[in-house]
Symmetry: C2
Subunit: 158 residues, 2 copies
């Protein structure tokens, strides 16, 4: 990492600390940069917002996309104080940034009491073997809506 | 599934269709039920909101948690028109509902042009082997913030 990249990471770490001490949520922070400009940042806000999806990366991605007025983070770098959990990693794949830098690992998050590593182990399991019961209920009409999408004139791929 | 459960799934499918035709985003809908009451619902709003995290399940989870004033979906059932993508599955694990029912599969989503299956394959890979480059940058201070969390008096586990 360059000195400038280390500074962005330091900013993400500062957010992880200040957010936690403000009671917003867990100790996680994230900064998103495009062409040297910070376009989104966030800290975990699960507790203050009663929102289990308000992880630092999700908050920062939403802000960055709002600022860029697009649903894609093309050419962006994400600096996050901890390895993204599966939810945040999924969000990152949908946003398609250029690169991700992370400091703490999922194992260290686990030692600090978070479910990241547990969820990483659950995801590859067949739905019926997971801790949260998941039932496949095939439905012809649901599938028909997919066909409608495939033939949808105004379709915009994301 | 009971007849009532099939009705909830039908509602989720209706949301998948109406959201798509309104130009909100892809053909995905979700309904969340607690004790027979619908407490959250949503359709994909990636395009209308310029928000790559606004999948049907995430929208519905955020609404349900807002209504319940908690960051947990204890005792709730989630009905979704398609198997949750890794981001949404992660969100579901953080929200901890009782059960999930889904209609279309990730393979069918893939055939309709969505990245769900691709992301499921990427997640278990070591970070350095993924299509989006991810670099581990260990940082003593980031780890120190985790220690501060472990000793944080006002810590609320989520």
């Amino acid at each position: 990492m360059t000195e400038l990249q280390k500074t962005y990471m330091q900013m993400a770490i500062n957010l992880s600390r200040s957010g936690m001490h403000s009671g917003n949520g867990g100790p996680f922070g994230c900064v998103i940069v495009k062409d040297g400009v910070i376009i989104g940042q966030g800290n975990n806000q699960v507790l203050s917002n009663n929102d289990p999806t308000a992880h630092a990366e999700v908050v920062a991605i939403r802000e960055a996309c709002k600022n860029l007025r697009t649903f894609q983070l093309e050419g962006c770098e994400i600096y996050t104080s901890c390895e993204p959990c599966p939810m945040c990693l999924g969000a990152i794949y949908w946003a398609r940034p250029k690169q991700v830098f992370y400091a703490n690992t999922r194992q260290q998050a686990s030692e600090a009491g978070f479910d990241d590593d547990f969820i990483y182990h659950e995801l590859p399991l067949p739905p019926q073997d997971r801790k949260i019961p998941m039932q496949h209920a095939p439905n012809d009409e649901a599938l028909k809506v997919f066909s409608e999408w495939e033939n949808f004139e105004d379709k915009k791929v994301y």
